[in-house]
Symmetry: C2
Subunit: 119 residues, 2 copies
DNA sequence: CAGGATCCGTGATGATACTG
DNA sequence: CAGTATCATCACGGATCCTG
């Protein structure tokens, strides 16, 4: 852990990282994943829980998450329609990081804000 | 874990999370933070390492990271100029998550790509 | 209820050229 | 070398209206 020839100066396969970041690093994906951590939720439920999200963005983001295999969509043939979304196995593997990030955010956002305004 | 009134259905202080996500969840911040994990680096070094980043975006992103207190900037009064960037203490607290994310990305990006194209 | 379709502003990013 | 300045673009995302 000292100065022993650090060879790994860069993240290998930075392309993959950027690729994935482009998918989950957008405005709503991580928030949705975090919101889904306790189990299935309906469309409207998500819309109310993730405050600030527009119907359009909820639709689009969910669609992409489903395409990427992070979220499962289940539509029940009922009237009125009911659609539930829940994390896939793959999606669940992201949870620890999402939760860590959320906790980090809550722990440090004030500090960051303070830094910003103090210059 | 059955139906016992799950109270924590949403991330508390979602505002803070979104706030922080808006700062570090952009196109380059996490990549830069990950790149700086082994110690100080010069501007040009970063430019070459983080491939694809434009000079402009490198400048802007670094500036924001410095403002937010995640990165320190040290300019040496030399000719030619030398400027080094390195993570602050606060910035270093993000490293575990960044590294986890990078590893997750590398481990799953193929799976995600496969999912995407298989629909 | 759960979306689809459309219109549109604007912020983020890239390219290029210039400078202390 | 390490930036600034300027211009152009384009995807992101919001608002609104419509429908199976």
């Amino acid at each position: 852990m000292t100065h022993i020839t650090r060879k790994i100066t860069r993240i290998p396969e930075g392309g993959a990282v950027r690729e994935v970041l482009d998918r989950i690093g957008d405005k709503w994906s991580l928030l949705l994943i975090g919101t889904l951590r306790d189990g299935p939720m309906r469309f409207g439920e998500l819309e109310q829980t993730v405050e600030g999200i527009s119907q359009r963005m909820l639709t689009l983001t969910l669609k992409r998450l489903v395409e990427d295999g992070l979220v499962d969509r289940t539509a029940y043939a009922e009237v009125p329609p009911r659609v539930e979304y829940e994390l896939t196995e793959l999606g669940r593997t992201l949870l620890p990081m999402v939760i860590s990030l959320a906790e980090w955010a809550m722990a440090h956002h004030e500090e960051i804000n303070a830094n910003r305004t103090s210059r």
